[in-house]
Symmetry: C2
Subunit: 368 residues, 2 copies
Amino acid sequence: MKLLDFLSPPTEAAQRAGPGNRIVLSSRVRLARNVAGFAFPGWAKKAERQRVCELLREAVVRQPQMRDGFIATLEGLSALDKQILVERHLISREHAAKGAGSALVLSRDERLCVMINEEDHLRMQALLPGCQLKEAWLAIDELDTGLEQELDYAFSHTLGYLTACPTNLGTGIRVSAMLHLPALVLDEQITQIIQAVNKLGLAVRGLYGEGTEALGNVFQVSNQMTLGESEIEIVERLAKVVAQIIEHEENARARLLENRPKMIYNHVGRAYGILANAHSVSSKEAINLLSLLRLGVDLGLLPDLRRTLVDELFMLSQPAHLQLRHSEKLSAEERDILRADMLREALREVRRPLSPPPAPPVDKPPAT
Amino acid sequence: MKLLDFLSPPTEAAQRAGPGNRIVLSSRVRLARNVAGFAFPGWAKKAERQRVCELLREAVVRQPQMRDGFIATLEGLSALDKQILVERHLISREHAAKGAGSALVLSRDERLCVMINEEDHLRMQALLPGCQLKEAWLAIDELDTGLEQELDYAFSHTLGYLTACPTNLGTGIRVSAMLHLPALVLDEQITQIIQAVNKLGLAVRGLYGEGTEALGNVFQVSNQMTLGESEIEIVERLAKVVAQIIEHEENARARLLENRPKMIYNHVGRAYGILANAHSVSSKEAINLLSLLRLGVDLGLLPDLRRTLVDELFMLSQPAHLQLRHSEKLSAEERDILRADMLREALREVRRPLSPPPAPPVDKPPAT
């Protein structure tokens, strides 16, 4: 089966909303595991990697959650397929760069994805829409438990699960939430929030994970430590911090609307004006402007516009998703034009954002 | 009479179109003259400046062209009045900075303006809309001839009219045209054009004359030399160069529309989108975006919009004109908000710019 026949179309994917969707775009828990007796993928020769890959693929597809899933070797995927998977946050950029001896298995509902021979033999994740950290943990824990019955995981009674990089040692868990924080950015509080979160031993990253920019005011918050705490403690601690960040963002939105409404209306108005009228838009600009449009929807400034449409445009504005809609290979310049055409068309029937209620009159009629 | 009661309102002023208005915003000829036996304004003591001022004012107001004109000493004008006169290009920034002993006389039709004790005793100009260099020359020559019958101009049979700065010596003439050249800027030909014009001994300056930026793609082309050529030769030479620049600009517009239509539509669309939706716009941004909107009108992309409305908004976006519409003294931040309100309101009923005709279909339906 082809990846594109398997994956749900963007409209449908964007409609999968979870609780707290207004600020938390998605919740993710991933576990790193390795099989005893085999070298880590970075050390293993090709033949050994292929052997491990075969073994693990069989174990993964036997799990009931993965029934009717999508299975592919990295060699079997086109560059476009891999990029689509990255843009959907289903695989890491690092995994997309792998070749022979690496594979992936994606569950039918697209909530579970197992990368084979990424940095570790197994990197399995549950990715749920909205704020569902605990649900994501339960889902991936169940898959991991099933796999552990079949596989001999590399495990030390003193260190826990062994991983290729010591930063994952112990529980091998990475819990993360993707947060949309435009008001904290506009209110210039974001640096302070990031510092506070860092002090709690949590990491804040950009849209595509480690080493990436915070495009579109989207920040990924995740645990740093994988040792010395149980998985559920890590999940609950992150959930608590996420709840606090949500509160800060909501407060910042209310405060900006109260104290600096013109600034908010200006940002939302400009974003709408450009997206509805430009004839060339880069993916970076599109994502940044769509973020402001999403804020406008959240604040009720764009009564015609649904948040799911913004989320769909967000997805469709990314290079591989845009390429998908066109048969010929596009240059970056052509993509920018087609992206603008798509955005203009999507917003054609959407009326201009509202203006703030008028201030008490202080003006006289024009003097000349 | 108050200046603001005398000056025509912006709507009316913007409707005074001249021939070739599409590219030539205005044509100006100014003459520098001094009266024999008095020190130049920069050297004269206050009492002498005031004596000259009195003498010249009387001579100027006796001219038939200046009947029912507006007469004011620089001390008698408010800072706002002076700024309005600068924004209308009726006086120089330098003259606006003058105080006791300086004055101005403006003709009823606002086409002639005499500055008394600017850098020279007399700086008189004719300012006409559109491409009317010769007409401007004839108008100011007539006023000068009238004045010369009453005044003893400082004149040397070898050097011509004597002026405070040697760059004006001889004819004392400065002929200039204000050109709107957005396509030459977008096509990156403008630097080359400026260099070519400079080689012909002509100067290219920004919107407010010497030492100012080319805001809004507006360039002022003027003669540099005032010696060795007759006035009419200077006027005709400049007119010829202006005609060539107009041709280059028209060619650039046609070429861009033919070869890079998306780029043009993108610039015009974005300008419209921002102006119609922003809630804070600086005067510099407004002027730059209105320039692109004017290009859109010229190219037929905005069938709802009249060029005179764009020209009016151009005028009204300048700080002093904006302040005029409001009784309280505005901060720069407040001005930016009120400017945006004015622009949004003006464009409320103007439909989005057209899109280019669709390219031949090459796309398949979306793949996912």
